[in-house]
Amino acid sequence: MDVVGQIIGGGVARILIREKSGVKLEMGDLLLVDETGDNSLILQVTDLQYHSQVPQSMRELISGMKLEGLGASLDFMEPELRNYIVAQAKAILQVKDGHSTIPKSLPDFFNSVRHVKEDDLKFLTKPDNPLYVGDVRSGSKILDSKVYVNARDAISHHILIPATTGRGKSNLVKVMLWSLLDLGGFGILVLDPHDEYYGRNEKCLKDHPQSENLVYYSSEAPPGANSLIINLESIKPHHFSGIVSFSEAQNDAVNLAYHKYGKNWIIKILEGVSLPNVKETTLSVLIRKFNTILGIYIDDKGNFQSRNRLFSDTAGESTIKDIIRSLENGKIVVIDTSRLMGSVELLVGSIITGTIFNKYQRYKAENLLREKPVIGIVIEEAPRVLGGDVIATQGHNVYSTIAREGRKFNIGLIGITQLVSLIPKTILANMNTKIILGNEMAQERSEIMASASQDLSDDNRNIASLDKGEAIVSSIFTRFAVPIKTPFFDEFIEDYSNEEKEDKGKMAFI
């Protein structure tokens, strides 16, 4: 056994281990204590400290003498015995006969500990619907043990990815989406504000062998992609709920216009029709709001115009239905929103998400939900729609409704955020899988830890020290908070690139 230390004290939440000389334990290292029988305990290092048998004043004196050139040859006798490192660890899992349980007792005093090896993690079996998120990480060492979550459970119970910029969240999402394309049968809507998932100019999801299950929409569609055009008739007043704030008078006007003109309500407002009991000024403000927020207006010749070319009065009639159908067929739909303003992006998402949510509610009522794929909605900067302030001032929107109720209808969010603290605790508590990436903001770390599915109260430094691609998966579907390293996407897909492409045969043109 490659002993790396020995238990020398502490308690249940804080086991102290003296590090063996020459061994460099790391924050987050997974250690194992072999006990009697086929019984072992897995520990995780949460802190490291210097300890010494030499009094502090003596250490300071010797250091000073060496620094000032008065005793270059001075050294401690048997320094590996006198000066050493004590690791603080927490027991995260008890493994007995291949089964894991939450530890309820302490390992034997003075027991030796070693690094966890791949064989020790055999209990980490591949679940149904395995969604790959990375490999088990012990400190900065990557073990040959893949970590999967059950996609069906995890997505329907919402996934939160808290991370600050540059910690690898896009890379993680790319790997997850790639893995979902492998799996198939999951309807995933990706609102992509950086146009980074499809792979317009580089390798990405479009290069997946099952790319027929990927649908891409963009207002600048490359060949083969779909134009992101939404017909005005697809938009209903409730799609604006919680996304664009209307005054009470404006709300009344909007609902009245919808009641009177049905699908043509927006165009009628833009054309300046008068509505009973609605002031001219209210309509003028609405026209201005549609112009500034959605970029739509009627030009001098009386023609409808859309500045971002997203909305149309003639094209895009089937866009929403097409997207919904793709999702219901278990495809991944990536929507390039990089050319849209934030509120328009959320509105587009609201139209699609609201429609699929209503459909799934109906399927549940008709007992058809089991036949339908789980739907996941990937949304960046989640506090824009899940933030406490936003909900308080603009009311609930379809995203917050899904965060609270989506689970019942097999619809979940995959929310990405830098600022967890803006999301109310009630919503955070509903996001049952958190893939925690590095975060240097103390307040954000404490919010993440407080809402995790496992006790991460000792992991403050661990989270702060997570490097790019390193993460902790805390989920109600995992026994413990699993430290992982997500591979770099480009390296991850290399294996696929080498696969032989299916020979489709020569095409005959008739």
């Binding site: 569609a221 490359p222 060949p223 083969g224 992609a225 779909n226 134009s227 055009i229 017909n231 008739e233 070319r309 003639t314 094209a315 895009g316 009639e317 089937s318 866009t319 239905k321 097409d322 159908r325 067929n329 036949e371 020569k506 095409m507 005959a508 043109f509 008739i510």
Partner: protein, 420 residues
């Protein structure tokens, strides 16, 4: 200034009832006559001139006579296959008429290094250049668009027309959302005119980077749904396009061949007798003289059987009142007394597709080509092709052989059944 006519989806030979057959042919003849009156320089037909690749010969004869008149006036007809008159081995009636020089198929190309390079056909009188892609069964033409060498097409100088027979995702009407379609991004840019077919509604579009793009819709219609849409006010006709170096004017020319009467009867909450009585009251008040009457009955009856609403009686009454033809759509009619079969679709192809969709999951099939959407498409297509009836003067043995070949082609089993 030059002028051409653009029509599509004539579906000659689709109608079975004599009254409708006559209207279908009248629509085509009126269109050709108008083209001659307008002295168009050429005619573009964007697919489905005929309803099948081997249509009823009586209908073919009449159509050919009219097209001969057009040709004798020096007006060429350019066209592509539609999804109905397509033939995988180029033995369609279209190929026959093409060989005879009556029409000119303008779809030709070569696949080199996995790129499809299309050939242009030039109209001698106007210099307009035409090329295009035919439809294939089950939307399989999408592979042609994927492989299309767009750059060479875009770089071709002159006045260019792209002829196609596919729905475009961007312009698909909402009620046709289920229809297979090609994204506009796969079309070559820079053509002056995009002559579309397949979508049975007329529409005109001007997408940025592309020229004018139109769908004329059918001249009359092939399915009851088409007639229902016509009865609800959709004009049927074709486009006249004036051009020089670019498109100057596009005009939709309506060609009404009959008057319609559309009636919708909501049966919800009423029993069969009440619905029948309501209909009789309504029939009293309407004028159906020389009209095509489309009656749609939907909803769940509170009592009685759906068969208690007697279609024969309804047709007799309306025919006695002078109706030219009576079509009754009762696919959405159910009764609480009968076993509930949930039908939301309102036309037979959609219902068939829905039933296949509901059942395909119950089958344990390992062949990927027969699973899910592929299997559904194949089943729908096979059903459609096998529905074709024995032709007049066709021997039973020949009919069986023909149907066997059609089925083999539909199922792509040529390699299994044919030696070469």
């Amino acid at each position: 200034m030059y002028k051409f006519a653009h029509l599509a989806d004539c579906h000659i030979g689709a109608q079975k009832y004599p009254e409708l057959k006559e209207l279908e042919m009248n629509a085509f003849k009126k269109c050709m006559d108008r083209c001659m009156v307008e002295k168009v320089d050429f005619i573009v037909i964007s697919g489905d001139l005929f309803h099948s690749n081997l249509p009823n010969m009586g209908a073919v004869k009449e159509a050919v006579e009219k097209m001969k008149e057009v040709r004798d006036q020096g007006i060429p007809i350019y066209l592509n296959y539609g999804s109905h008159d397509y033939s995988p081995n180029e033995t369609s009636i279209i190929d026959l008429l093409n060989s005879a020089g009556l029409i000119q198929k303008i779809v030709e190309g070569e696949v080199k290094d996995e790129k499809l390079k299309l050939k242009f056909f030039q109209d001698p009188a106007t210099g307009a250049k035409l090329c295009g892609i035919s439809a294939r069964k089950m939307g399989l033409e999408s592979s042609y668009y994927d492989a299309l060498d767009r750059e060479s097409l875009q770089n071709e100088p002159g006045f260019k027309i792209f002829v196609f027979h596919s729905a475009i995702t961007d312009f698909k009407p909402e009620f046709l959302a289920e229809m297979d379609s090609i994204p506009l991004s796969l079309f070559p840019r820079g053509f002056n005119y995009y002559a579309g077919g397949h979508v049975h509604l007329h529409s005109e579009h001007h997408p940025e980077g592309y020229g004018s793009l139109t769908y004329p819709g059918p001249l009359f219609g092939s399915y009851s749904k088409d007639m229902e849409i016509s009865a609800r006010g959709e004009e049927r006709g074709f486009y006249l396009v004036n051009f020089q170096d670019e498109v100057k004017e596009i005009e939709f020319i309506p060609l009404p061949v009959c008057k319609y009467e559309y009636m919708y009867q909501d049966a919800y909450g009423k029993n069969a007798i009440q619905v029948q009585n309501d209909l009789m009251d309504r029939f009293e008040k309407i004028d159906v003289e020389k009209k095509v009457v489309l009656l749609k009955i939907r909803g769940e009856l509170s009592g009685g059987k759906t068969s208690n609403i007697d279609s024969r009686t309804i047709k007799d009454i309306l025919t006695r009142k002078g109706a030219l033809y009576v079509g009754i759509n009762r696919h959405g009619l159910t009764s609480r007394e009968q076993v509930k079969v949930k039908i939301t679709e309102s036309d037979i192809p959609s219902i068939e597709k829905r039933l296949f969709t509901d059942r395909v999951g119950d089958l344990n099939i390992s062949e990927a080509k027969l699973q899910k959407n592929n299997g559904i498409k194949l089943a729908v297509e096979l059903l459609r092709t096998l529905r074709e009836e024995q032709k007049l003067n066709e021997k039973k043995k020949d009919y069986e052989e023909r149907m066997k070949n059609v089925a083999i082609h539909t199922l792509h089993l040529e390699e299994v059944f044919y030696e070469n």
